[in-house]
């Protein structure tokens, strides 16, 4: 392997982030100090945390407590390689997702660079960013703390094991990547249109599995118990190669030198094997070709849509249809659907804690959360991203005879309709599960609608001003960060202003199930809820009116400022 080639490829991957930043591309200069300062910062924070922990240990005089801390620290060290492996797989997968677009997934195979070099560069590049930052932090923390704890040798070996685990995680991700692409391509070819729904279902399933695993851990273990569980779990699962770095460390901590050498060698052999498999897969399937997905094959029958009958112009309906296809077909936008479903799943898991015996007020509260949250949380994202998702295709909107009003109406009502549909589905599901009273359900649905109508206007106004249309490399950013932040703050304030009048009503219902402090719960007359709804409606109408004006102004600006995007 030519390491110069590998370093060059890593440098190219690292420079991909230039496109994500608002750098001047003329006379661009790379600042290595800025690039590496984050790792330095992680190291400094790690040293500080380690020093604090060590000082805390030094301050303890009770010998039993000191022994207990040493014991826990040893468990922590032994469990860390497996924990690093787990988060390493998650974060390197996330890094890979950012680059899973055909522009970047295709290695420059025509250059005199071997597949081993391509694979090694990809494995190392995936580690950059969050995975390496966390590992640098952990390493510096345990190295510093170990000086106080007297575990210096163990901590040095732990750091080596952490780095090995991270490489192992990244190499595994490389295998996942190639297999995913190969499988996705094969499934798309076979299933055609259904591939889109299969992909959505797979995203939801993986999220449910992830949350189920998370819940089972979270529900049963404190951090110390978790480390102990991982450390002892490794010993039971010694035959799984992924725990071998932890096993080597465990053997080292117990001065079992044969075990240390055996598991260390086995770990290195396994890393090499995973790397070779990744290389072989890249050699075989590395030439990425977008699969030909046949979405429709029948005769073309243009028709007047329902929305046109509702008063939208054909061009507005065309825009709305296009956006619907974008959010159902583009992988990076699927979170819009996955997100509300994850809320329902999380709530469902939460109810499991009560073993089916939820008090009436509690079930009403869960109904309210499941109905309000998905729509209210999805709207700020969908509204602010809806312009940015045009990406480099935005030229078409600029060059087409679409008026500012056409664009503003199509985008606004698209966000409102999608979120209302999501809210209605969530309301029906949670209504069946939690059976709230009719009046409570009506109040929640009205509030959800008011939130969606207003938040759509707020987030779309931010979306017009802050849209980021820059391309697919490594992925669409959709929204400039400062506008993203402003959007979230504005949406939070607006949501609170709209919901504020009905909060006393919610508290009075919730107080039957939850221990809410007395001053927060006041006795309300029966008509209060109707007054609160009217107040909510007035606030929502005012906010919607103001922000719809801003949306319109944003659309005018968009039309006027075609250039420079």
């Amino acid at each position: 392997m030519n390491w110069k080639n590998i370093l060059l490829l890593i440098s190219i991957n690292r420079k991909a982030s230039r496109v994500m930043q608002r750098n001047s591309f003329r006379r661009y200069r790379d600042s290595k100090a800025v690039t590496y300062s984050l790792y330095g910062l992680a190291c400094l924070i790690g040293i500080s945390v380690g020093w604090l922990a060590g000082s805390f240990y030094n301050g303890i005089t009770d010998q039993a407590a000191r022994d207990s801390i040493i014991q826990s620290a040893t468990y922590l060290f032994i469990s860390l390689p497996t924990i690093v492996l787990l988060y390493g797989v998650v974060f390197t997968q996330m890094n890979q997702f950012r680059r899973i677009v055909k522009v970047t997934i295709q290695p420059m195979y025509w250059l005199p660079i071997t597949w081993q070099e391509h694979t090694a560069a990809s494995v190392l590049s995936n580690m950059l960013g969050a995975p390496l930052l966390i590992t640098v932090f952990l390493s510096s923390a345990i190295l510093t703390a170990s000086i106080f704890l007297g575990l210096v040798f163990l901590s040095i070996v732990t750091v080596l094991a952490l780095l090995t685990a991270l490489v192992l995680a990244s190499a595994t991700t490389e295998i996942f990547k190639t297999t995913q692409i190969r499988l996705a391509g094969a499934i798309t070819r076979v299933t055609g249109r259904a591939a889109i729904w299969l992909r959505l279902a797979a995203s939801i399933m993986s999220m449910i599995v992830f949350y189920a695993v998370y819940y089972s851990i979270y529900n049963q273990a404190t951090p110390v118990l978790l480390f102990e569980a991982v450390a002892s779990g490794q010993n039971v699962l010694w035959f799984i190669p992924y725990v071998w770095p932890g096993m080597a460390l465990s053997a080292f901590s117990n001065s079992l030198w044969t075990g240390t050498i055996l598991f260390s060698l086995a770990t290195l052999a396994f890393v090499l094997a995973v790397f070779l498999v990744a290389t072989r897969l890249n050699m075989k399937f590395g030439f990425y070709e977008a699969p030909s997905a046949k979405i429709s094959s029948g005769a073309y029958v243009p028709k007047v849509s329902l929305f046109e009958r509702l008063g939208f112009s054909p061009s507005e309906v065309a825009l709305m249809k296009k956006d619907l296809r974008a959010i159902t077909r583009r992988h990076e936008l699927m979170f819009i659907f996955v997100f509300p479903i994850s809320i329902i799943v999380m709530m469902f898991f939460t109810t499991l804690r009560y073993g089916g015996s939820i008090p009436a007020g509690g079930s009403s509260l869960l109904f309210a959360l499941i109905t309000l949250l998905p729509g209210a949380l999805t709207t700020p994202f969908l509204g602010s991203f809806i312009m940015g998702l045009e990406g480099e295709n935005v030229w078409y909107l600029h060059s087409s005879p679409l008026s500012a009003e056409n664009i503003a109406r199509a985008k606004y009502f698209f966000v409102v309709i999608v979120d209302l549909v999501i809210t209605l589905i969530c309301a029906m599901v949670s209504g069946i599960i939690f059976a709230p009273s009719l009046i409570f359900a009506a109040v929640i649905l009205i509030e959800a609608t008011l939130l969606i109508v207003s938040l759509s206007a707020v987030s779309l106004a931010c979306g017009f001003r802050g849209a980021d249309y820059r391309g697919f490399f490594p992925m669409n950013r959709l929204l400039k960060p400062k506008w993203g932040l402003l959007n979230l703050v504005l949406c939070a304030v607006v949501a609170l202003a709209i919901v504020a009048p009905v909060i006393p009503y919610f508290l009075s219902i919730a107080s039957t199930a939850l221990p809410i402090p007395f001053p927060l719960v006041i006795s309300l007359p029966d008509f209060y809820v109707y007054v609160a709804l009217v107040l909510s409606g007035v606030v929502s109408a005012f906010i919607t009116y103001v922000f719809r004006k801003l949306v319109r102004a944003g659309a005018e600006k968009f039309r006027a400022e075609a250039e420079g995007i």
């Binding site: 003329r26 055909k102 977008a290 699969p291 030909s292 997905a293 046949k294 979405i295 429709s296 094959s297 029948g298 073309y300 029958v301 243009p302 028709k303 007047v304 112009s313 054909p314 061009s315 309906v317 065309a318 825009l319 249809k321 296009k322 296809r325 974008a326 077909r329 583009r330 990406g391 480099e392 295709n393 030229w395 078409y396 600029h398 060059s399 087409s400 005879p401 679409l402 008026s403 039309r559 075609a562 250039e563």
Partner: protein
């Protein structure tokens, strides 16, 4: 609406920070003519096309398109113009058919006409059978065909085409060329940029040669020959002579040393 020129540019300039992309250009595009825009990379051809469509606002000068002052009513102009940009940025999550349907709706075509035109064009450009596939799986040539159809199907009065024949197979290129000639005979004006000098020579009624943001020469092939004082020469020699890029021999010799 009656108009004497499909597009009329008076002293139009455009500057991007320290680069002047277009310098005081005067240009008239006649109704029913095909005007070829030639020039080296970075000479301002694409910027000029975008300015005629209203995508780029000139720093100085006035642009009239189809009898409408572009600054006063860009919306009215866009309705009557077809545009194919350089590079095939296109909604890849749509199928070819869905994109054309979308384009037809945006240009407010009636349903029957939209269906008829889409089916005709898909058949003519050999896209039948692939129209239901996602555009992400199309070749560059297929994407270019979809863009060309979307620019022509609503019967524009002016076509602005930036390297329109890029990536097209010979048969499709021939169809598009014949189509442009047919449209020209029906009064549709076309301004197209190209690097393929043979295409410009064969297709265009007049040729404009741009260099460093300026219009170096404008006229028929005969006019250009006279201007370059190169009778009986082909467009390539004239182009290289007028743009001062003709003396390539020392460059080649230097490269091969």
């Amino acid at each position: 609406m009656a108009y004497s020129f499909a597009a009329k540019l008076i002293s139009v300039s455009k500057r991007y920070s320290d680069v002047t992309a277009v310098k005081h250009i005067d240009l008239e595009v006649k109704k029913g003519e095909i005007l070829g825009l030639l020039g080296p990379n970075g000479s301002g051809k694409s910027t000029l096309l975008k300015m005629i469509l209203g995508l780029v606002k000139p720093d100085t000068g006035v642009i009239n398109v189809l009898g409408v002052n572009l600054e006063a009513d860009p919306f009215a102009v866009k309705k009557r113009v077809g545009y194919v940009p350089e590079g095939s940025y296109i909604y890849e999550f749509l199928t070819g058919l869905e994109f054309l349907d979308f384009a037809g709706d945006v240009f407010q075509m009636n349903l029957d006409e939209k269906k008829k035109r889409i089916e005709e064009f898909l058949k003519a450009l050999d896209l039948e059978g692939r129209e239901g596939d996602l555009i992400s799986s199309y070749s560059e040539g297929m994407k270019q065909k979809i863009l060309i159809i979307s620019a022509i199907m609503h019967k524009p009065e002016l076509l602005l085409l930036d390297e329109p024949l890029n990536s097209l197979d010979p048969k499709s290129a021939r169809i598009v060329k014949d189509l442009l000639r047919k449209l020209a005979s029906q009064g549709v004006a076309t301004v197209m940029s190209t690097h393929v000098l043979e295409i410009a020579e064969a297709m265009c009624d007049r040729i404009a040669i741009m260099y460093d943001g300026q219009l170096l020469a404008l006229g028929t092939m005969e006019d250009l020959r006279q201007r370059a004082k190169m009778p009986n020469s082909g467009l390539e020699d004239i182009f290289l002579e007028l743009t001062g890029t003709g003396d390539v021999k020392p460059i080649v010799e230097e490269l091969l040393r």
